[in-house]
Symmetry: C2
Subunit: 332 residues, 2 copies
Amino acid sequence: MELYDIIIIGAGITGYAGAVYAGRLKLKTLVIGKERGGIIVTTDVIENYPGFKSITGAELAAKVREHAMEYRDNVKFVDDIVERIEKRKGCFIIHTESRKEYRAISVLYATGTKHKKLDVPGEKEFFAKGVHTCGLCDGAFYKDKIVAVVGGSDSAAKEAVLLTQWAKKVYIIYRKEKIRAEPANMEKIDEKIKEGKIEIINNTNIKEIIGDRFVKRVVLDRPYKGSVDFPVNGIFLSVGIIPISDLAHEIGIDVNEKGEIIINRYGETNLPGFFAAGDVTDKAFKQAITGVGDAVSAVYSAYNFTKQRGRDMSMCDGCNRKIDECVRLHNR
Amino acid sequence: MELYDIIIIGAGITGYAGAVYAGRLKLKTLVIGKERGGIIVTTDVIENYPGFKSITGAELAAKVREHAMEYRDNVKFVDDIVERIEKRKGCFIIHTESRKEYRAISVLYATGTKHKKLDVPGEKEFFAKGVHTCGLCDGAFYKDKIVAVVGGSDSAAKEAVLLTQWAKKVYIIYRKEKIRAEPANMEKIDEKIKEGKIEIINNTNIKEIIGDRFVKRVVLDRPYKGSVDFPVNGIFLSVGIIPISDLAHEIGIDVNEKGEIIINRYGETNLPGFFAAGDVTDKAFKQAITGVGDAVSAVYSAYNFTKQRGRDMSMCDGCNRKIDECVRLHNR
């Protein structure tokens, strides 16, 4: 059983950036995560990571992963899913889906977010058969078809613009009055509206999703052009994201009302040794670059934490020897 | 007289990254600064900006600047030096060296740092004639010569390693016992010591710098190999940095005992509308990537500030009309 200085939970761009620094700081590091690159991989073009005028999400994630791989003397990666975190006096024990157990003095929790669902009849049944959460992944199936993006955020706007390259018509179905995209993206929406490729249906919700093998139509809660029956081939959900904070919450990490992990500017949580960064936190402005910057700060905090505390505290299983000796015993 | 939504003071990588986002958010933006790229331009190889395994400081700065130039519809750059900031009720007036005056609703202060000096006889006299602050800029003049790096920080270590490619011998003169470099850089130092290219003289200060047209030798405060007289051709100062915060301090921005601007995690200072990011702030871990991430957060805060406050407050010169009208008057 090895003892790591830091285990990074989450193999997204935030976790990878943390790994770059952990490696440089010569921390014995393990990155655990199955969704390589994280949610950013589902993003088409990223134009706002300073240094890259335009790059796909997948390319950017791959670049930062490769960057972290430069430090593979100190940094290991495992494709696995964390199922439970156990907090011991001197460390954290991470239990994974494949029944492995890893131990570390500190944790960087960078699990990111997942998509919210609508929670309406038909959604589960037609998931991946007409109901999707990633235009980039599944948009090409809808060449010359009619699709709807559900939501009114900047992400929804980007998703709609992206889908116009395949679909003959993209509807944005939004429960409120006015969508709120980043100004640069709002311009693109306005252009597409002028071209007749995008149309916004506001103040409207989807009540039900209906089809046979695939989605055929949805039922709206308000008539559109005289009918609540609305024919559509594909539905792309962009109704928000949920921070994946449950495992942290279970061991007493404070979260806010949205479920986001509360951190300070050093990436510290309420529990010493447990750090967090990226979209899973209560960061006001969630961007690839802010997650990356915060991961670097958090790893620096973890570095100071392990330096201060790491080498003279008792071990995970209550080993009372000096830690080096305990580590040797563990590593047998 | 134009009114900007935001003026970014400082044309370093932090300011440029702020400009990328300010441009994307369609803020009317002005970047003022003369030292294009900032202090990072004096750095040889950067291996810790996630996404770029290895890039020179000058290249990275140029990339982020070019990135910001993509938004030149909204972002203007002027090569000038800010001399004074004036705070009015509704805005900030920026006075520059070339007698220009610019007005803005908000400010991002990203001026960075400058090098500390030794403050010993001969230092001023021989500045740029043997006394330097940038190995990358001036190291090549010392091919097969003897140089000394003064300082014991990570920057000093990097500087020493860099200089070995030209100098036949690099001494590190450090006032304390043990230099403290990032582990990855410490390894490089140890290699060079083994090769006989680097030697550390610890617990020692330079008392005086002596030469004719150029530096010939220094006087140490403790004998080295039996003498306080130490022959050296070039001296590279790496004794620390000073935040360039004076102009902000003058208008009442809170700074800490090091002179660093105190910010919160949103990039806010104690003065509404006045934001700061990068090396000039009290950020614990000062890196290119953390400055960039924080600039993005700060610009987002500025965006919210201008949205909330910008469009109905009275103008810089006390114009009591609605702001659009005032702006129109100003722009005549």
